[in-house]
């Protein structure tokens, strides 16, 4: 049984079509990497899954429930999201960023929420930064807090929207390490990223999206070594060249 099933999804912004007839499924503990040129609809696809953006046509199922039939807040509690620009709450410490959702959404007591937050900060290697504010952290540290914030809600699936694109090159590694650890531990992850090293090592499946349509989808070896479509090969080749 798929954890996530996207079925014939269409989405346009006004007259601008963004996604067309997109369908795919993900099992639990699977890591899916979505790649594609800028403007291909990758981020929109992610945002449709937690309903930050609403689709025009089609269906999306989480755990066999159509996501538009469940409460959107409940859906978002079950589907975590990590943003390109981190989007940490600027007025709260690293710990506060994590406890806010735990307290307001999961109704944990302050002591429970603090303990859980510290636990997740430790998992992303930031136990010593619990009291730091976002502006006092490096980009890589901020993104790790962002991941801890998503993880602490015990989601069934986490969406990563270009989590390393806003980072200086020397800070990308620490974030990818955390993501690789998560993949290893069996977290279900749907990632939009240009990090081909991560895609090769951690992804079970890579989806190549272009112009709002899935061009090709398959195991990393297949897409890197024997792509069915020339477009896929060209694009992945360019990315790999760029990111060595």
């Amino acid at each position: 049984m798929s954890l996530l099933r996207v079925d014939s999804v269409d989405k346009s912004y006004g007259d601008e079509p963004v996604l067309h007839d997109v369908s795919f499924g993900m099992d639990r503990q699977q890591v899916e990497v979505v790649v594609g040129p800028s403007g291909s609809g990758k981020s929109t696809l992610l945002r449709c899954v937690n309903r930050l953006t609403e689709i025009d046509n089609g269906e999306i199922y989480l755990d066999d429930e159509e996501i538009h039939a469940v409460d959107e807040n409940d859906l978002r509690r079950r589907v975590g999201m990590v943003f390109q620009d981190f989007n940490l709450f600027a007025h709260l410490t690293a710990r506060g960023n994590i406890t806010l959702g735990l307290r307001e959404v999961l109704d944990l007591s302050k002591a429970e929420a603090d303990a859980k937050a510290d636990d997740y900060l430790d998992r992303v290697g930031l136990a010593d930064q619990a009291e730091s504010y976002p502006a006092e952290l490096s980009g890589g540290q901020q993104q790790r807090v962002g991941i801890a914030r998503a993880l602490a809600m015990d989601p069934e699936l986490i969406l990563f929207d270009e989590p390393t694109s806003a980072l200086d090159p020397e800070l990308i590694g620490e974030v990818l390490t955390v993501m690789e650890d998560l993949a290893e531990e069996g977290m279900t992850m749907l990632c939009v990223t240009h990090e081909m090293g991560f895609a090769r090592s951690a992804a079970d499946t890579i989806t190549f999206l272009d112009d709002g349509e899935i061009v090709e989808r398959g195991a990393p070896e297949q897409l890197f070594e024997n792509p069915e479509h020339e477009r896929t090969g060209t694009f992945l080749g360019e990315l790999t060249g760029l990111h060595q």
């Binding site: 937690n50 930050l52 509690r77 943003f83 940490l88 007025h91 806010l100 504010y133 914030r149």
Partner: protein
């Protein structure tokens, strides 16, 4: 020929009447407090409605704001005094002021301040990036929770400088209550030098009340500066 000299000053007159001016200062402070409180109570939600609201409520709020900001404060206060059915409420002891004039002045200054404060808050709410709201919604918070716990705490911090400005303006504009005879600082000052034979002390009286207005604005602004620095977000540039 002797050069023209200024009249001899008469600070003794000020000392002899310090209690009259002090009570005027008290009324001024009270009126500032009630007006700013009313202005905040209406202005903060109005700013939020202008950002997040839609339909008739947002229309009413924004139209009321335009009207209030577009009317001179003296016109408002006189209009309210004669047009609103505020009953005669008698006189407040000790500070010796007419309560209906005080209520009228609070309404006029408070509503106008709400119209300005709403723009201060609207600007600061809009300056909080959309990503903050999306991040809050993405952990499952409702829109209201997200606004309350993520947007407002940051917006209020950013609105402090604008609010300080508004505070200074309201404090000094309490002097327009003079137009309806409320016994605040300027009104009492005028009563002092309009007494027969007292036209010689106009300068002393005016300088004294200017100093009182200055001390009030200066100390309160310093206090608000302190609050601002205490609540500043570490590492941030606000």
């Amino acid at each position: 020929m002797e050069p023209a000299v200024l009249q001899a000053t008469d600070w003794g007159f000020i000392l002899a009447n310090w209690d009259t001016l002090a009570l005027g200062g008290v009324v001024t402070v009270l009126l500032t407090a009630t007006s700013l409180t009313l202005g905040f109570a209406l202005g903060f939600p109005s700013g939020a409605i202008e950002v997040y609201g839609e339909g008739w409520l947002a229309d009413i709020v924004s139209t009321a704001g335009v009207l209030l900001r577009g009317t001179p404060i003296v016109v408002l206060i006189v209009l309210f005094f004669f047009a609103l059915p505020i009953p005669r409420l008698g006189t407040v002891p000790v500070v010796d002021m007419k309560l209906n004039a005080f209520v009228t002045a609070t309404l006029a200054l408070g509503l106008r301040s709400a119209a300005y404060q709403s723009q201060v808050f609207r600007g600061s709410i809009q300056s909080i990036g959309e990503g903050q709201l999306e991040a809050a919604r993405s952990v499952g918070m409702t829109k209201l929770q997200a606004i309350q716990h993520v947007v407002f705490p940051q917006a209020v911090r950013r609105s402090l400088p604008g609010f300080q400005n508004e505070f200074t303006i309201v404090l000094k504009d309490t002097s327009v209550a003079f137009a309806i005879g409320l016994a605040e600082l300027l009104t009492r000052a005028e009563r002092l030098y309009l007494q027969p034979g007292r036209d010689t002390v106009v300068i002393e009286v005016i300088i004294t009340i200017s100093a009182i207005y200055f001390v009030l604005t200066f100390t309160t602004n310093r206090a608000l500066d302190y609050v601002h620095s205490q609540y500043a977000i570490p590492g941030g540039n606000q």
